[in-house]
C-alpha cells in the first residue's frame, strides 16, 4: 500500500451484487439481447442434448426460436465475451436453430389457454412479430385477441420480406401457428383503413404493429420512363415470397447497403439474375448490412461496388438499359462527420435489365386519423412513452418497427412483451408506468471440492462454420435453404465454446484470508488485491490492463488488511479456478438466471 490508507481517497464503493443489473450486465449476450434471452442457460441445454428444453427457454423469451435462429440480427454475438478473449464470438444464433431443428413435439408444453375468457378484447393491427408476441402473452391470460393484416397469412415481414432460402416456410408456419393456434381471431386479407373504425368496435385496447411497410424510392432522372424495370426492394421481395414474381432480368443492379439489399441481390441471383451487382453510396465497411449477410452475398458471387452515388436511370424506348453513377470518396471533418465528395472521375455506366431499390424503409400511418388522439412527431413516428409504448390515446399501444422506426425481429419481440404488460395493466385499471422487476434466481454450482454443476473446462476451439448446401443446388432455387445448420456433434463443440458467463464469481469478503490463491491462478489476471482508490486511478493499478471501460469492476468491502478485492469483469473466463483454489470458500460460482417478467400475475399490483 502506498499511504492512501484503508479505503483509499475517493475509493470506489463496494459493488451491490443484489442489484439484478450488475450480474445481468456480466452476461453480455443476455444484456445485449433486446428480449434478454438467457443465452448461456439454453446453450448448456443444447450441449446436454436437451433440445426441447433449450427451445422452451427460447420460446418463452423470444417467441420465434426457429425463425430467429436463422434470421436474427444477433446483437448478442458482437457482445459475446468470447469475442474479447479470442477472435470470434460463440455462434449463438445458429445454436438457437439447433434447438429448434432437433426438438421434439413441444405443443403440450405451450401455455394452456383458459376456456373462460376474461372479457377483455384486444385488437392487434398487423400480424408480424410484435403483434404475435402480444397475442402470445395475452392469450394465456384469457384475453380475446383479434389480429388484422392485409396479407392472407399471418407472419408480417417474417413471411413477406425474408427470402425462403434463408427461412423455409414450414418454420414460419410452425412458430406462427403456435400463437394463432391459441385461438386468436384472425382477420386476414383485409387492410385496416381506419384506426377510428377499430376503436369504434369497442376493443379494450389496440396494439399497432404494422412495421415499416413503405420502401423508399429514388427520384432520379429516368425513374418514370423506366418504371417497368425499377422495383422497390421490400415490395419486390414480398411479391417473390407470395409467388407473384418468378423471374428477373439477367443483369440486375441492387441499390442500397442494408440487409434488405442483401436479400434482394441473393433473391435476384436465384430468379435468373446471372449478373447481379450491389452498388452502395458509402464505403463497404460503413454498410448497414450485418457483416455475415455481406459475406453470404459475396460468397454467392455477387460483387459489392462502393463509393458510387446513383445519378440517372438510363433508358431506350421505354426500356431500362442501365444506370449512371458518380464516383465519390469519403471525407471527414474535424468532428468526424462524413461527407461524400465527387472524385471528379467520369461517371460510371453499368448496363442492366432491372434495378432493385433497397435504400431504406419508412413508417406509414395514413390510416390513423387525427381525431383518434394519436399524435405523431416531426419524423412521422407516433408519440409514445418509451417504456410502456402507450400512445397519446391511452387505449392505443405501438410496438416493433411502427414504434420507433425500422429495427429487427428481436426488437419487435421485446416491444411486444413490454406492450403486453402495458395492455394487461391498462385493462385491469392499473398504473401502466409501474413495471415488474425481472425474476432472478441464484444458485451455487458447487457439488464437491472439484465438482461443479457446469462444465468449467474452457474449450480452446475456434468458431465452427455452419455447413452450406451446394451452390449448384441453392442458386437454382428460391426456396432451397442455403444453410444446413450444425449437426449434433458440431453443435456440442460450438456450445462448449460458451464461457458460461451467467455462472457468476461471487465473493464474500468476510471469508477471505488474502492468501492470493485466486489472483495467482486466474488465467486472465482479472483479480487484484490492492488499496481502494478512484476508479480511473484504480484501473491503472490492476494486475492486467483494465482498458475496457464498458465492463464493470467488482469491488469487495474492505478486507482485514484494509485492501479490497477488485475483479475486472472484462475477460473473466468463468472457469471457476478462483473458487477451486480458494481455501475458505470466499469465492463461489453461482448461476444467475434472470428471466424477464412477462404479462401475467407476476406483474400485477393486486
Amino acid at each position: 500500500m502506498d499511504g492512501r490508507g484503508p479505503g483509499g481517497v475517493g475509493g470506489v464503493p463496494p459493488t451491490d451484487i443484489r442489484n439484478p443489473d450488475y450480474f445481468h450486465k456480466v452476461v453480455d449476450c443476455q444484456w445485449a439481447c433486446p428480449a434478454h434471452t438467457p443465452v448461456p442457460e439454453y446453450i448448456r441445454l443444447i450441449a446436454a442434448g436437451r433440445y426441447s428444453d433449450a427451445y422452451m427457454v427460447n420460446w418463452k423469451s423470444n417467441v420465434f426460436p426457429g425463425i430467429l435462429g436463422r434470421t436474427c440480427d444477433r446483437p448478442c454475438e458482437p457482445a459475446c465475451r468470447r469475442g474479447r478473449v479470442e477472435d470470434e464470438p460463440v455462434a449463438i444464433c445458429r445454436l438457437k436453430r439447433v434447438a429448434a431443428d432437433n426438438k421434439d413435439d413441444i405443443r403440450h408444453r405451450l401455455p394452456a389457454i383458459p376456456a373462460v375468457k376474461n372479457g377483455k378484447r384486444v385488437a392487434l393491427v398487423g400480424a408480424g412479430p410484435a403483434a404475435l408476441t402480444v397475442a402470445r402473452d395475452l392469450m394465456p391470460l384469457g384475453y380475446h385477441c383479434t389480429v388484422f393484416d392485409r396479407d392472407q397469412r399471418a407472419g408480417g415481414m417474417i413471411r413477406s420480406q425474408i427470402p425462403r432460402f434463408r427461412l423455409p416456410e414450414e418454420v414460419i408456419d410452425e412458430e406462427v401457428g403456435y400463437i394463432t393456434g391459441m385461438g386468436v381471431e384472425l382477420r386476414l386479407g383485409q387492410e385496416v383503413r381506419s384506426l377510428q373504425a377499430i376503436l369504434d368496435e369497442g376493443f379494450d385496447a389496440v396494439f399497432v404493429g404494422t412495421g415499416a411497410p413503405r420502401g423508399k424510392d429514388l427520384d432520379l432522372p429516368g425513374r418514370r420512363e423506366a418504371a417497368a424495370n425499377i422495383h422497390v426492394g421490400i415490395d419486390w421481395l414480398s411479391s417473390v415470397s407470395f409467388g407473384h414474381v418468378e423471374r428477373i432480368g439477367r443483369r440486375v443492379i441492387v441499390l442500397g447497403g442494408g440487409n434488405t439489399a442483401m436479400d434482394c441481390c441473393r433473391s435476384a441471383r436465384r430468379l435468373g439474375g446471372d449478373e447481379v451487382k450491389v452498388v452502395v453510396r458509402s464505403g463497404y465497411d460503413e454498410m448497414k448490412a450485418s457483416p455475415w449477410e455481406k459475406e453470404d452475398a459475396t460468397h454467392e458471387g455477387i460483387p459489392i461496388l462502393n463509393f458510387m452515388v446513383p445519378k440517372e436511370f438510363l433508358h431506350e424506348g421505354g426500356r431500362l438499359t442501365g444506370m449512371l453513377f458518380e464516383r465519390v470518396r469519403a471525407e471527414y471533418d474535424e468532428r468526424g462527420r462524413r461527407s461524400l465528395v465527387p472524385t471528379g472521375e467520369p461517371d460510371e455506366r453499368i448496363d442492366c435489365d432491372d434495378v432493385l431499390v433497397a435504400v431504406g424503409q419508412e413508417n406509414a400511418f395514413p390510416w390513423i386519423e387525427r381525431e383518434t388522439g394519436v399524435e405523431f412527431d416531426r419524423w412521422g413516428l407516433p408519440k409514445l412513452d418509451p417504456v410502456t409504448f402507450q400512445a397519446t390515446n391511452p387505449r392505443v399501444f405501438f410496438g416493433g418497427d411502427s414504434a420507433f422506426g425500422p429495427k429487427n425481429i428481436i426488437w419487435a419481440v421485446a416491444h411486444g412483451h413490454e406492450a403486453a404488460i402495458s395492455i394487461d395493466r391498462f385493462c385491469r385499471g392499473e398504473d401502466v408506468a409501474e413495471r415488474p422487476p425481472p425474476g432472478v434466481e441464484t444458485s451455487s454450482q458447487k457439488m464437491g471440492i472439484h465438482e461443479w454443476s457446469y462444465d468449467n473446462d474452457i474449450s480452446a476451439d475456434l468458431r465452427f462454420r455452419v455447413p452450406w448446401a451446394e451452390p449448384e443446388k441453392t442458386l437454382r432455387s428460391i426456396s432451397v435453404e442455403v444453410e444446413l445448420g450444425f449437426d449434433a456433434r458440431t453443435a456440442f463443440a460450438e456450445a462448449q465454446r460458451c464461457l458460461n458467463c451467467d455462472v457468476q464469481t461471487v465473493f464474500t469478503a468476510q471469508l477471505c484470508i488474502e492468501c492470493d490463491a485466486c489472483a495467482d491462478i486466474c488465467p486472465v489476471d482479472c483479480i487484484t488485491f490492492t488499496a481502494n482508490g478512484p476508479e480511473a486511478e484504480l484501473r491503472g493499478r490492476l494486475n492486467a490492463p483494465s482498458v475496457n471501460l464498458t465492463q464493470a469492476l467488482y469491488l469487495s468491502e474492505d478486507l482485514k488488511t484494509g485492501r479490497v478485492m477488485v475483479k475486472d469483469e472484462d475477460v473473466c473466463l468463468h472457469c471457476g479456478l478462483c473458487a477451486e483454489r480458494c481455501p475458505t470458500g470466499a469465492w463461489d460460482m453461482q448461476k444467475f438466471l434472470l428471466e424477464m417478467t412477462h404479462a401475467g400475475h407476476a406483474c400485477r399490483s393486486h
Partner: protein
C-alpha cells in the same frame, strides 16, 4: 488443487518482456498443493520475478529436495531445467551442478523440513561455501505432507492445530545464514508479493549465496490462532525494515526522500538495489547489527522481514577455487587432457 489444466487463454493485453514472453510463459504445470497454499504464491512470485528480469527460461536450473515446497518447481518455469533430488540433499546436487556449469542461474527450492531438519548440514555447507545461487526456503513451520507435526522452525510455545504447544527452540534459518556467511539474506512472506518479488529479483542477480526465508502459511495445518506462521499472525507482527526496488540499470530517483531514508546498493553485475528504509536505524550492510536485530525482535515476537543483509562485492565458490571462466562441462578434450608432460610436471611439483 484442481483437476483442470489452467486454460491457455490469457489476458489479450498481457505485457511481454524483452524476450517476447508473457508472464504465462514462465508458468509450469497446474499446482496439486492444497487450495490457498502459501507455496503457490511463492511460485507466482518466482514466475513474476523471472519474467521481469527477462531471464531465458532455458538458462535457469531449479533444484529441490522432498516435501510440499520441493514439489513446487513443477508448478513454475516449465521450460527450465529441473532436478528433484533426495530429501535434504538439494544443496549438494546444486553445488555439483553449479561447479559443472557455472553459466546457469541456480534456484534451490526447499522447505523447513528439508533444510532445517534432515538437510541442516547440507544447508549450512552450501551457504558457507558461497555457492552462487538463490536458496529459498518455503517456511510453514509444519510437516504438511505428514499431517501437521511441528517442524524445526516452529516457534517455542506456538500451538499445533490440535492445541498442543511446541516445547523446542526454533531454528531461525535467516540468522543461521547470516552466521554462516551468506552474502544476501532476506526474509519475506508469501502473502506480500510487493515485498517478495523484488527480493527474489535481487537475489537472482546476486553473486554468491543468496538466501531467502519465506514464511508461507500452511492453510491445512498451520493457519489457526496460536500459530506464529499464520496469515493473521505474520500480518500483525510483520516488522518490515525496508522496501526494495531492483533496477538492472541505474535509473534516476523520481521520488524525494529525506536524508538517510534511501540506501542504494550496486551489486557485482551492476544491478542497483534501491532500498526505502522503513526502519531509519536499520542498515542492511552491517552483518553484526542484522544478527543482533533479528535476535532482539524475535524475542519480542516480531517477524523481521525485508532485505536483512547484502554484501554487493561478495566472492563465490568459483572464485575461491579459481576455476576457469568456461563452464567445466563445456571444456573440450584438449583442455581436459593436457598430456604426459604436463602430468609429469604436476607430479614433480608435488614431490
Amino acid at each position: 488443487m484442481t483437476y483442470l489444466a489452467k486454460p491457455r487463454f490469457h489476458h489479450p493485453k498481457l505485457p511481454t518482456n524483452a524476450l517476447g514472453y508473457t508472464r504465462r510463459d514462465y508458468e509450469g504445470a497446474v499446482s496439486t498443493l492444497c487450495a490457498g497454499c502459501g507455496h503457490d504464491s511463492i511460485s507466482a512470485a518466482i514466475i513474476q520475478a523471472c519474467f521481469e528480469l527477462d531471464l531465458p527460461p532455458h538458462r535457469i536450473a531449479k533444484l529441490s529436495g522432498i516435501g510440499c515446497s520441493s514439489k513446487t518447481p513443477t508448478y513454475f518455469l516449465g521450460a527450465s531445467h529441473g532436478f528433484n533430488s533426495v530429501h535434504g540433499r538439494m544443496p549438494s546436487v546444486l553445488t555439483g551442478a553449479n561447479l559443472a556449469n557455472r553459466d546457469l542461474v541456480y534456484l534451490g527450492v526447499s522447505g523447513d523440513g528439508d533444510s532445517a531438519s534432515i538437510g541442516l548440514g547440507q544447508f549450512a555447507h552450501s551457504i558457507r561455501r558461497a555457492v552462487n545461487m538463490l536458496y529459498i526456503v518455503e517456511n510453514n513451520g509444519v510437516y504438511g505432507l505428514t499431517k501437521g507435526q511441528f517442524s524445526a522452525t516452529a516457534d517455542k510455545g506456538s500451538l499445533s492445530k490440535r492445541g498442543v504447544a511446541n516445547h523446542d527452540e526454533p531454528i531461525d534459518l535467516a540468522s543461521m545464514a547470516l552466521l554462516l556467511g551468506a552474502s544476501f539474506v532476506a526474509r519475506s512472506f508469501s502473502g506480500d508479493k510487493e515485498q517478495l518479488v523484488p527480493l527474489i529479483k535481487a537475489a537472482l542477480r546476486h553473486k554468491g549465496a543468496a538466501f531467502i526465508d519465506c514464511i508461507s502459511p500452511c492453510v491445512a495445518f498451520n493457519n489457526h490462532p496460536g500459530s506464529t506462521k499464520s496469515f493473521d499472525f505474520v500480518r500483525e507482527h510483520n516488522d518490515a525494515v525496508n522496501r526494495l526496488d531492483v533496477m538492472v540499470e541505474r535509473a534516476p530517483i523520481e521520488t524525494e526522500y529525506a536524508p538517510g531514508e534511501l540506501v542504494e546498493v550496486t551489486q557485482h553485475d551492476g544491478t542497483v538495489l534501491r532500498l526505502r528504509k522503513l526502519d531509519a536505524t536499520y542498515d542492511p550492510r552491517d552483518r553484526g547489527a542484522a544478527m543482533a536485530y533479528l535476535q532482539q525482535q524475535s524475542a519480542k515476537g516480531e517477524v523481521v522481514t525485508g532485505l536483512l543483509f547484502v554484501d554487493p562485492e561478495a566472492a563465490d565458490l568459483h572464485d575461491a577455487l579459481s576455476t576457469v571462466a568456461t563452464p567445466l562441462n563445456a571444456l573440450d578434450d584438449a583442455a581436459l587432457v593436457p598430456g604426459a608432460k604436463a602430468l609429469d610436471k604436476l607430479n614433480a611439483s608435488l614431490r
